[in-house]
Symmetry: C2
Subunit: 712 residues, 2 copies
């Protein structure tokens, strides 16, 4: 296996900087300061043309003067100096770099040319690099922080790869206040060399990283991304935000890192296929990522809700329930154990509501302990463990009455919170806290130190629990299976080649279906007639009723043009229909005689080459409402069997595929097989741009492709 | 007009407390402290059985000893003392009260009995009261704070009525940190007397209140709520959270305040009907409410995005676009003006991305000014005005280099932020800020002081702008029209009365449709036949093709039972069908002969008495997928014309009602008329429990009710 270049980039023994000096208003200097002050223990070699020392460390006038080839070169110089300096590092044998400098692809043609030049140089020397136009990286275990803001604090558990540098630096203070700590964080910048797939693979293998957060504006290689992510998600959760899916988002992203974005529904499908949990804000990226990184698996749906107030208790219950979790009524036995611990106006049935009752031991220790011991729940959400943050509020009005300054007053109320905050670990159940108090509240601090997530709203707390459940479902997905492509079928290849040779933009319906049938996709029983008697002969063979359609590459959209005759019940009707079609369409037009497939359930499927994204398979609800309801889902081809089966369950109208109004449940394997095959077809015949199967009718349990069109 | 009892409750000149003493661990004492310390300037009369003074104020041994009848009595005594003390206040002539004491309806049968007794006493004395089981109230203008936590700060603009006391007290510190300030806040508790509708009406009239936030676990009187809310929303935004819509939410709410909750989709419809913006977390209730309370109207879709980082800029653009707003590319003229203000690697086209460029004047003054002056945008979102919060981060690593302690260091960077933070007011455009910095950052403080909302994430910032746009649409809704009920039709009344008299649970299809037709609802042309020849005669009158159906109250679910014969094209077919139906259904069964209505578009509508909620009208997509797609919306009856028209636009499949696949657009007035009439019918005939119109088929543009069922 090829070694991931980030192994050295994230763990260098020696770092050289170009662009860091002693001027603290310069970004380069601030970043060098982060390296030094956040505790990097390896060698630090600042390169500086004039100064003898940089931040107290011996400086070297040029790269060529360095005493050794550093493991990592960090570029924070003006754009025009990058390529020359990269050459120098190449010459001395440095193999890894971080190019923070901006002004490349994201700025237009000249920048793009410069970026190409940079890539040419690094390829020549075998240098692998992050950036350009990134902010650096964080490895909290080493520790190493090459960003603009201080990291501080102990090592964390959440890995991050971000197409915005801000999200691993401007937010470091915010994350510190919320108790969220990175294991490793990687700013990707323009991804001229190392792109997100390698970063994701690195975080997937990194033992310190327990969950991965991705901020994405666009993927260069969605198929590669899927392959990497799919191997990670069964054992490590990935949460991702995608912001390139609208016109404005795509344009903004493009001027940011030159990213190539794609429609939102394709990314949505990709994430689902990969088992990635999607979020819609950076707050959720961090916040939900942190619960995924810190909490044990949520093994069942039963959640205990403990609160000191009805509002948060009700809001958490509602949010949990809406997310598929349950808030079961506690057994009488458990309720009787809780009864003496709460005031008489409280509730003990789940939620346990202590009402505004200031007994911290009851809410934070005794009751959670009883509930966890009971075996009646699989996880706990708690609102209302109030410590110094609450007393601080009380002190505002009561200062003169107590006659104590704030700190002394707070100290008088400080207790040993260890029994409370270590409780979750003892029972090994997910335990998530809601608090409206400030970040300095001693409970909040103590919980956070124990990696118990604390959110500033009941709904976020409940949603974090919901996301643990979402991940549990992902973990329990059927394991990936082989999606090996079958051999190319000669008949199909010949039909496609013929169309290409003729310069036809599409294959006619009959040929399209022959191509499908060559790969085992079930189509209506049919044949091509060139005379009325041929049509009757075919109809008799197929069995009445039949349908007749004019069939040529020119007739793409047939409905409404008088070229279809449905429900033909006998020879006479067939002959008449044949003549009518010939009359309307022309004497040369062949006529398709096909089985009249009955069934009230119509579906659509297809496959298309999506520029900048890859070969996609589509599946959805068909019939006349297709374009109105837009109940369709997309996945990348090739599909393995579990991915195809998941598509069936991903449409809103999925109940239609079960037993429905006296109709049998669909043959799911057959339907999933169609989706796999149509995707494979696109990959086996790169000349094909698009395949539409519309409709697929359920003939009882059996899906049959009734009309199809292949576009070249 | 009846005076709203909250006028005095929120603005008392004198307050008596029962239950407040000198023990600061008691809630009553803490609440009295809030009254006194938060600056209440009226008279304060503590009633206390033993102590001579309470918190330094002369105390009175009993209510009967008070020197005057106080405007407001506040109860924080044990449950069993409430009724006796209420009697005493009644005797001395006090007319308004707040009962904070819990232990009533929410605790079960005994509590419910006590609550009834309390209501009996207050009715006798003409006392109006909040609670019981509430936390008090806040009037920041007076100021008056009767909650457990300190209010502090200047008066605010956001009014709140909450079915959880926590949300006007436990969160006061959180709101202070976020710069969100209540105008008035009302804790509703069990709503034994004053319920949410009166509170909403009060906030609607209150001039200090610019937007209203509602936390709802269940409504006692949804129709009354709708009436009040509908009058407010055209001129003052209302934002609401409803948490009783799941099984767990409903149960939790019931043990909280004894609230009667209802299914989520009914509340969702009610909010839409009332023009209320729905949110799903208390954070959004406050946060989005605050933007609605502080910002001028967003008059157009064009938003300027100004950022110091690509990630937040892209995320804001994507979120704005997803919410229906636009991020238009700036004119060349404007871009050229911006160019000299940003670094060369920056972007100026909108988003304006300064990249990590520390020129506060450019990002916070010069660029927003240029953009607002340009006339090219209707609102601005800004990320990256970084003041002392940023310097605080820098100082962590650079303390020894600068040799300055933190405060001195920060002071050195403090600037006059007035030009920046007063800019939005000058231009009168919505202006919303995103910042990852802490709440003490001087920009954050200064913006908040000017009522410019600051959110801790780019997405929240963009969503706040989206919500301003959502409110703009609400303001521009067609004005409410009269929804006066028509007179009762004698034929309909007779049919319903006959069914009631027979004890029949339903009306048969023919009678059901006669009732509908009596109110002008278009039904299929049809008649009842008792012989084959009658059937033929009817069919000829109607015109072929026709449909025959066995018709009796017993035959409710007809499809699949062999009692329908479709597409009958001639006399012979009608006679055969008549015989077949008689044979299957019985010789006595009348047979309905009806026009065969053609059309591929099927809809459903209906009306039902929803226990605990009221008479609802339903509308949705019909056909065989009805139960699978669940594309239905609900509103309270009676519907005015605009509300009925809005229902048509509220289904997902709404495009179906336009021109579609060669079919004409539906006659919207006719369809809306059906919805109005079916709702009216339910109100005019209270014996009717439910009416189903399924399907309504679009015969070209014209909606026709093809099958119907009225349940008694």
């Amino acid at each position: 296996m090829k070694e991931n270049p980030l192994k050295v980039i994230m763990n260098p023994r020696s770092i050289a900087t170009v662009g860091a000096g002693n001027n603290l208003t310069k970004m380069g200097t601030i970043q060098a300061l982060s390296i030094l002050k956040d505790g990097f223990k390896g060698k630090f070699y600042p390169v500086h043309p004039k100064d003898e020392t940089v931040l107290g460390h011996k400086a070297y006038p040029s790269v060529l003067d360095l005493p050794e080839a550093p493991d990592l070169a960090v570029f924070i110089v003006p754009t025009e100096l990058v390529t020359g300096l990269m050459e120098d590092f190449g010459k001395i044998g440095t193999k890894r770099a971080v190019v923070i400098t901006a002004g490349f692809r994201e700025t237009g043609a000249a920048g793009l040319a410069l970026e190409k030049q940079l890539k040419e140089i690094t390829r020549r020397y075998g240098i692998r690099f992050l950036g350009p136009n990134c902010i650096g990286l964080v490895n909290s275990a080493l520790p190493l922080n090459i960003t603009v803001m201080p990291l501080l604090g102990p090592p964390g558990l959440l890995g991050m790869a971000s197409q915005s540098g801000t999200y691993i630096t401007q937010t470091l203070g915010l994350l510190r206040r919320r108790g969220i700590r990175f294991s490793k964080a990687i700013s990707l910048g323009n991804e001229a060399d190392i792109e997100i797939n390698e970063a994701l693979a690195y975080l997937g293998e990194d033992e310190q990283t327990r969950a991965i957060a991705l901020y994405i504006e666009g993927l260069q290689d969605p198929a590669g991304f899927l392959e990497v992510a799919r191997q990670i998600t069964p054992h490590k959760p990935i949460v991702a935000q995608y912001v390139g899916g609208t016109a404005a988002g795509a344009r903004a992203g493009s001027s940011h890192t030159g990213a190539m974005a794609g429609p939102d529904h394709l990314y949505d499908g990709l994430f689902k296929q990969a088992g990635i949990i999607r979020v819609y804000s950076v707050e959720d990226l961090y916040g939900l990522g942190w619960s995924l990184a810190t909490q044990p698996p949520l093994k069942g749906k039963r959640i205990g809700v403990i609160t000191n107030s009805g509002g948060p208790g009700t809001a958490m219950s509602d949010t949990l329930n809406a997310g598929g979790l349950e808030v079961p009524v506690f057994s009488e036995v458990l309720q009787e154990k809780i009864r003496p611990l709460i005031p008489k106006q409280g509730a003990r049935g789940n939620p346990v509501d202590l009402t505004f009752f200031l007994n911290a031991e009851a809410i934070a220790v005794a009751i959670p302990k009883l509930v966890m011991e009971s075996g009646e729940i699989d996880g706990i959400v708690l609102h209302g463990a109030m410590g110094t943050g609450f007393m601080e509020e009380i002190h505002i009005h009561a200062e003169d009455l107590f006659g104590m300054p704030r700190e002394k007053f707070l100290d008088a109320f400080r207790e040993d919170l260890h029994p409370a905050v270590t409780l979750p670990q003892k029972y090994g159940l997910p335990f998530i806290v809601s608090s409206f108090l400030n970040e300095h509240d001693d409970y909040n601090i103590a919980y956070r130190e124990q990696n118990v997530p604390v959110y500033d709203s009941p709904e976020k707390t409940a949603r974090a629990m919901n996301v643990l459940w979402e991940y549990r479902q992902i973990q329990q997905r059927a394991p990936a299976e082989s999606a090996l492509l079958p051999p190319v079928e000669a008949e199909a290849a010949a039909l496609v080649a013929a169309a290409v040779k003729q310069g036809a933009p599409i294959l006619d319906e009959y040929s399209s279906k022959r191509v499908l049938a060559a790969y085992g996709i079930p189509i209506s029983d049919e044949g091509l007639a060139r005379s009325g008697s041929e049509a009757v002969e075919l109809a008799r063979g197929i069995g009445y009723p039949v349908v007749l359609k004019g069939c040529s590459a020119e007739i793409a959209h047939k409905t409404g043009k008088g070229l279809i005759r449905l429900q033909l019940k006998d020879d006479e009707a067939v002959e008449q229909a044949f003549e009518a079609i010939r009359k309307a369409a022309g004497e040369e037009i062949p006529v398709l005689v096909a089985q009249m497939v009955g069934g009230d359930r119509e579906l659509v499927a297809g496959a298309l080459q999506q520029p900048g994204f890859g070969p996609c398979v589509m599946f959805g609800l068909g019939g006349i409402f297709t374009e109105v309801l837009r109940d369709t889902v997309f996945r990348l081809a090739p599909l393995d069997r579990p991915a195809a089966l998941e598509m069936l369950a991903a449409i809103r109208a999925k109940e239609l595929l079960g037993e429905f109004r006296g109709m049998p449940a669909v043959d799911r394997e057959a339907l999933a097989g169609i989706l796999q095959k149509v995707g494979n077809l696109l990959l086996l015949h790169p000349e094909i741009k698009e395949i539409d199967l519309n409709p697929i009718i359920l003939d009882g349990a059996r899906p049959v492709v009734v009309d199809a069109l292949i576009t070249i």
